[in-house]
């Protein structure tokens, strides 16, 4: 209890000190510009003495003054002594034209807006998705007008385009194991080299039946191979993380709304059945088997199983809403139907 009091006291004390001292610290920072105290009081005589007799000789001496002008930040304090010479702002116009020629110096920042222009260019090719990559070369081409480079550039671009077109085929092959079983995968890699293969292939055109026979044999072989590698697709079943409680509850809620016990016998209402449900990737039940039961009779178990089977099939008509990435977790589900709460009491 006292610890809290101490903490509160220390905290409030620090806050108070900050309010008092912190403000002073901040003021001290503001004292710096108050060094304007350099502005000394000059009498009119002194001023006249300064301005009247030696203006011309001093003027060239003051000429180097503009040199420090390039320093924009300290310019203000140095201008300050000038105001006493307020009637003659002549030196002022001189430094102003000088900064104007200096703007070329800020030109280096000019390249900074240049990268901003790139995105402005990008919207132009934007309507054409593929040219987006070409936008950069176009910008580069404009400063480098070299027809030779243009001829070389298209050669580099063309190989990239076909690769992008073939990526879809690659993803299909990776997502499903089907290509590994069929003959199509080996056929597709041949497509990039049709010009080479096409030349020997064209003379063989008079023998198309030989090709069909060969394909048939290839298909047969591939089928045989596919048959021997049926385990491969199983290996590709995504296991994913375990089903969450929410996902399990969602499945339970989906099944229970179709578990209709309104037409079952009272014995069936005293029977608990455990069914094993095989699911396809779409969440649809493909096979339902009675695994075990606990009740008064086999007949009651059969009736209870029928009700459970109807529940799974009816509510799974369109497929249960299950995470596809966890198919390995739910491709087989053991459902226990316990009608204890439904029993007529």
């Amino acid at each position: 209890m006292r610890t809290g009091l101490y903490i509160s006291g220390i905290g409030h004390g620090l806050l108070f000190l900050w309010l008092v001292i912190g403000g002073l610290i901040s003021w001290s920072r503001d004292d710096v510009p108050l060094r304007v105290s350099e502005v000394s009081m000059i009498s009119e005589d002194e001023f006249a003495a300064l301005t009247a007799p030696k203006p011309q000789s001093d003027a060239p001496d003051e000429a180097p003054a503009p040199e420090p002008i390039p320093e924009p930040a300290p310019a203000a304090p140095e201008v300050a002594p000038v105001p006493p010479a307020r009637p003659e702002p002549v030196p002022d116009p001189e430094p102003t034209p000088e900064p104007t020629p200096e703007p070329p110096a800020p030109e280096p920042p000019a390249p900074e807006p240049a990268p901003q222009d790139v995105p402005r260019v990008a919207p132009e090719p934007a309507p054409e998705p593929e040219p987006q990559v070409e936008v950069a070369p176009e910008v580069v081409e404009t400063p480098t007008p070299s027809p030779e480079a243009t001829t070389a550039a298209p050669e580099e671009v063309t190989p990239t385009a076909p690769e992008a077109a073939t990526t879809e085929i690659v993803t299909e092959a990776t997502e499903t194991a089907a290509p590994t079983k069929s003959v199509r995968p080996p056929a597709r890699p041949d497509r990039p080299t049709p010009p080479v293969v096409a030349e020997p292939a064209t003379p063989e055109t008079p023998t198309p039946p030989a090709n069909s026979a060969a394909n048939a044999v290839a298909n047969a072989v591939s089928d045989a191979v596919a048959g021997g590698t049926q385990d491969v697709p199983d290996q590709n079943i995504p296991e994913g993380p375990p089903m969450s409680r929410g996902e399990k509850e969602g499945l339970r809620l989906a099944v229970k709304q179709c578990w209709n016990l309104g037409s079952t016998s009272s014995d069936a209402l005293r029977t608990t059945v455990v069914v094993l449900v095989d699911m396809d990737r779409n969440g649809k039940p493909t096979n339902i088997a009675l695994q075990s039961w606990d009740g008064p009779s086999q007949g009651a178990a059969n009736t209870a199983f029928q009700a459970a089977r109807r529940a799974v099939l009816i509510c799974g008509r369109s497929g249960y809403d299950l995470p596809a990435e966890k198919y390995g977790q739910w491709r087989q589900i053991e459902m226990t139907f316990n009608p204890d709460k439904m029993r007529i009491k």
Binding site: P242, K256, N260, S263, A304, I314, F337, I344
Partner: protein, 445 residues
């Protein structure tokens, strides 16, 4: 340090509380497991397309039988018929394969197809039952044969089989009900015994209205009826042969009143109440006469006995405790055990054919109820409530209770009602006129 310790404890407690939420679901071997403990109670949708005319000009019978099967099933409250207007496909032949998808599309979960042929005066009815969503036939196809005049019985038998294959328990459609048909004004009622199909069809009368009759009860085989008649001026127990309508008195001692008879499960004995000398007790005797045995001996009123299905026990009502309550004793008499302890009065107990429940009439707070309870008196449930409900009788499968409900007022008249033991599907049984004291027969052979 203390502050650090406090912060450490707070952090530990917070992480401990959050750990169940952060921890991954426990890894379990084998398939995903879920448990469903509650579902829905709804009528199961079914479709009964018109049965096929399989020859002999049986078209009308085919249509009527299909309609009666549908009515039987829908009347239970456990099923709901999908109207034919919703059908996508039709059954063109009894042998043609079923287009399950079409029936699934209209959510018909059970499908009954059939065909009827006529040859001479006889009908042959064949049918199949399908579980639409599993795409399987429930059991094998069956057929019944009989005279054309018994087409209703054949339809009831088809409905019984369908009911059995879907619910897992025997049906009750091919059964009959004996009851007291009443006529005349309320203060001068004339009563006679009637018998009808369970759905109120085919009414026939077993007695005339010359004397009052009460409480008819079927024998276990359904060929005899016990009842109480005032034919002699006093209530006496009679036994009647249903086929010949011949009757005889079982008890005829002068000065004694016998009533509330009921057969033993084996049909060889009769248990009844005998009132003599101002006292009423329970007795048994052989159906063929003789072998009388007293089961109770108390100054209170013991009546309305009913055997358990195994014949080992008898449940009855008695006011020995001061109010009318239910008791169970051995079929040979002896010490009785009270099973009803709720408020109000309990009477007319009837043991379920399944043996697990006892139906009764209860009067409490000015209302009458039909209720059921376990044989030990537990799990009492009141199924109905009205001005006057009484005299429950079990269906052959122990799923439905038929009883008498009398409306209030000078024009009030008794009628027969049925209710599922769940308390749902309360329905009036259509009769020609006022009716009371129903007794359900066993399934016909």
């Amino acid at each position: 340090m203390r502050l650090k310790q406090l912060l450490g404890y707070a952090l530990f407690a917070g992480l401990t509380a959050l750990s169940p939420l952060m921890a991954p679901t426990a890894m379990a071997e084998g398939p995903l497991r879920i448990e469903i403990t509650d579902g829905v109670i709804e009528p199961l949708p079914f479709a009964v397309p018109a049965f096929q005319d399989d020859g002999g000009g049986a078209g009308n019978y085919a249509s009527n039988i299909a309609r009666l099967v549908a009515a039987d099933l829908a009347g239970t409250g456990l099923f709901r018929e999908v109207p034919s207007s919703a059908y996508i496909s039709s059954i063109t032949s009894f042998a043609s394969p079923v287009a399950y998808e079409d029936w699934r599309a209209i959510n018909a979960q059970a499908l009954i197809t059939g065909a009827v042929s006529q040859s001479g005066g006889n009908l042959t009815v064949k049918f199949r039952v399908f579980d639409v969503f599993s795409g399987q036939q429930l059991g094998e196809g069956l057929q019944f044969g009989g005279s054309a005049s018994s087409w209703r019985r054949m339809a009831h038998k088809v409905a019984d089989i369908v009911y059995s294959r879907i619910t897992g328990e025997t049906g009750y459609f091919d059964s009959r009900v004996v009851f007291v048909s009443e006529s005349g004004p309320k203060n001068a009622r004339r009563k006679r015994l009637g018998i009808m199909d369970f759905d109120g069809a085919n009414v026939q009368y077993l007695t005339d209205s010359s004397s009052l009759v009460l409480a008819p009860r079927f024998s276990p085989t359904g060929d005899k009826v016990l009842y109480t008649s005032y034919e002699t001026g006093f209530p006496q127990v009679y036994v009647l042969d249903v086929a010949s309508v011949g009757r005889r008195a079982l008890t005829s001692k002068e000065g004694e009143m016998s009533f509330a008879p009921r057969f033993s499960p084996d049909g060889t004995r009769v248990v009844y109440s005998l009132s003599a000398g101002g006292n009423t007790d329970i007795f048994t005797m052989n159906v063929n006469g003789g072998g009388e045995q007293r089961l109770t001996s108390a100054p209170s009123i013991e009546t309305a006995p009913s055997y358990s299905p195994d014949g080992q026990y008898i449940v009855f009502e008695s006011d020995r405790s001061g109010t009318q309550q239910l008791y169970i004793m051995s079929a040979n008499g002896g010490e009785a055990r009270r099973i009803s302890f709720g408020p109000g009065r309990y009477g007319t107990p009837v043991w379920s054919p399944r043996g697990d429940l006892i139906a009764f009439t209860k009067q409490n707070a000015g209302r009458f109820h039909i209720g059921v309870m376990r044989t030990d008196g537990s799990e009492e449930r009141l199924l109905t409530a009205s001005f006057l409900d009484e005299g429950p009788s079990w269906s052959p499968n122990g799923r439905v209770i038929m009883f008498t409900r009398e409306s209030q007022g000078a024009d009030g008249a008794p009628a027969l009602y049925s209710v599922d033991i769940s308390g749902r599907n309360l329905r009036r049984v259509v009769t020609d006129g006022p009716a009371s004291d129903p007794a359900w027969s066993p399934l016909l052979k």
